[in-house]
Amino acid sequence: MKNKFLKAVFAIALGSALLTSCKPKSSGDAVSGDAAQKAYVAPGKYDEFYNFVSGGFSGQLSVYGLPSGRLFRVIPVFSVDPEKGWGYSEETKPMLNTAQGFVPWDDLHHTEMSQTNGEIDGRWVFGNANNTPRIARIDLKTFKTAEIIELPNSGGNHSSPFITENTEYVVAGTRFSVPGDYSNGDVPINTYKENFKGHISFVKVGKEGEMDLAFQIVTPGVNFDLSHAGKGKSHGWFFFSCYNTEQANTLLEVNASQKDKDFIMAVNWKKAEEYIKAGKGKKQSVKYAHNTWDEKTHTAKSEIKTEVLVLDSAELKDICYMIPCPKSPHGCDVDPSGEFIVGSGKLAALIPVFSFDKMQSAIASKQFEGDYGGIPVIKYEAALHGEVQKPGLGPLHTEFDGKGSAYTTMFVSSEVVKWDIKTLKVLDRVPTYYSVGHLMIPGGDSKKPFGKYMVAYNKITKDRYLPTGPELAQSAQIFDISGDKMKLILDFPTIGEPHYAQAAPADLIRNNGQLKFYKIADNNHPYATKGEKESKVVREGNKVHVYMTSIRSHFAPDNIEGIKLGDEVYFHVTNLEQDWDVPHGFAIKGADNGELLIMPGETTTLKWVPKKVGMYPMYCTDFCSALHQEMSGYVRVSPAGSNVPISYSVGTNLPATK
């Protein structure tokens, strides 16, 4: 009896041990022994790559180092940033202007670096605004948003800001089709099929980066999701994935998931250019903002444009072609040779890979299976190179290592799968923690990938870090992909929600002529104060302009009297320093906007409307020197109608004697 009991206990113990050993390995096992060494960048040493990561719903662009995962800077782009005065200083407000007026927030999903001959060139990085459709250009000499262009006729600019191989164009596509701005938008929502249209935008990029909306192509109403340009042999073409070809306008999760196949739309933009030359474009009247930053006046300008050239995809037959692609395709990625186009049907159990050559011969021999809203639909098999079988669940995005392999993220099965582009065989798979969205290999969507690291950007972190209440950070995970097997070497939380990212070799950026400070002699700001002696306070009606300077460690003037209730005070602060890394800040009690962070040689303006009579301290917010705490002053606010005259000084307003 006792013996039997022991045997039973033993059997249960053994059984449960076997069961638990069948459980998949935990995350701890996924890290190899030399991971720390591979991700370690010693203090004072530089990273190998700059990583420009979209901030998602933060609206900003974050800059990390690889492989250390250290955060260097968050560049404000589409959302206001009181810390940097972005959208709060008078100079930056026009950058966030749109046809809808000032928009303080947006959702930056994708980044794309400028290219020359299909290789990253380190000049600019572009970002998209998903909510109020826009594209931004960030200058990589100043790490500052230099330009923002709005896109008319669009809702949800998602398939953006992808570029052609010489940065000829940066594109945008409407995720939410809407009636064009040039038609009546006041229609019943359930007239989607009749009244809603898709528009994809081609924005020309000039030599200095200046953006100009060259043309749009109008398509049937669908949801454009992602895109990538052809390169090499397929240069001249652009590929856009689209879903909701069912044209549903409600409960899309069901109604837009009905068809077995949606499309990848191939756009022959060289052909579109020919049609424009031939005068086939229609000028449509719209309204969109084009905002530019001037490095000399340190001021943004917003211009409202009123016209766009639109080409009709149904009318001009040989610009657009639809390639059937299984189950609501998301990612649309082109390999470094330009031959293979990978569509990732997010509900599909396979990954179709299309061949550019086969697509071309299918077009030439008219192997069509009908049309979609007037756009020819190529037969699936006629354009197909092959399918990756059983890659995982929920394929989303693909990047390339330049060594013949592709890497695809699987959202549902939470893994990255490495496969061979030619044979379509799965080579390796690694888990991610958890639910990976985008991934990035430096140069991984260009002609020249640097296949050393791959970074997965995850949507869910759950138990990965110390808990911080209901809201948790999202994360990035770096894998070493230099060998046959992908190896996790580092895992770090990110700001906002990381979507797509780009990376470039550090030397390409740090040797591109990085600006260290603005030359005070070149400062053409209309309210610049180029020396302490020029500082002054000028009243113009109820507007008071303070021409102020900052230098270690005082403001001039630092005693101001004669401000009255009802006044609008403009502090135009010029940082007189001419050395690297000596910014000054400026803040005043009760200001209902933000602070100013003024770089050496720059002039920035804070508008301040005092609401109560009294004494208002102001001070430098950026610890600038040993006497930073002394860098402060007072502004006296008197009642409306008071006869206290305007007076201002620094160092001379000595204690009153009785």
Binding site: I551, R552, E577, Q578, D579, S625, A626, L627, E630
Partner: protein
Amino acid sequence: MTSTKISLIAKVLLFIIAALFVGSIFVPMWQIELNAPQYPEGLVLKLHADKIGGDVEIINGLNHYIGMATLHTENFIEFKILPYVFAAFGLVSLLLIFIAKRKAVLVFFLSYVVFVALAGIDFYRWNYEYGHNLDPNAAIRVPGMAYQPPLIGYKQLLNFGAYSIPDTGGWMLAAAGLLLFAIVFKEYNLFKKKN
């Protein structure tokens, strides 16, 4: 057998010396390098024959903490005179080729030595002046502390390490002096033991 006329090689050397004197006008003569934890890239004052160069604006900005007067080229008469002095030295060197007397070279050499000594004293005097004549209202006052940079070599001044050494022009002037000395040496046969 001794000759009071100088040799051909001495004339060639004199030509080189003339070139060195004139050349030194166009390059920095002396430099004071300053290093601090906050300035890993270093700051440098470059003293040319005719001006103060380098990071003079930044250094002037920092000097106000300790109450040191700011540096301005126009406050030093030296920068007006020195280019002419070096040009004159160059001219004299050329003339000496035609005079070709070893005694003349000796006299020039000795006057140059005197000039260098006077210049050194002058440089020390200015260093002393700027290092000691401090604004009594300065934010940072360290009792007994002076901020005189070294005449030559290294010295720690609060958080700054100051390293004072010749620059290109200085080395050219030194070379000119050495070459003059070599001519004197050779022409007076000081190499050979007298019998």
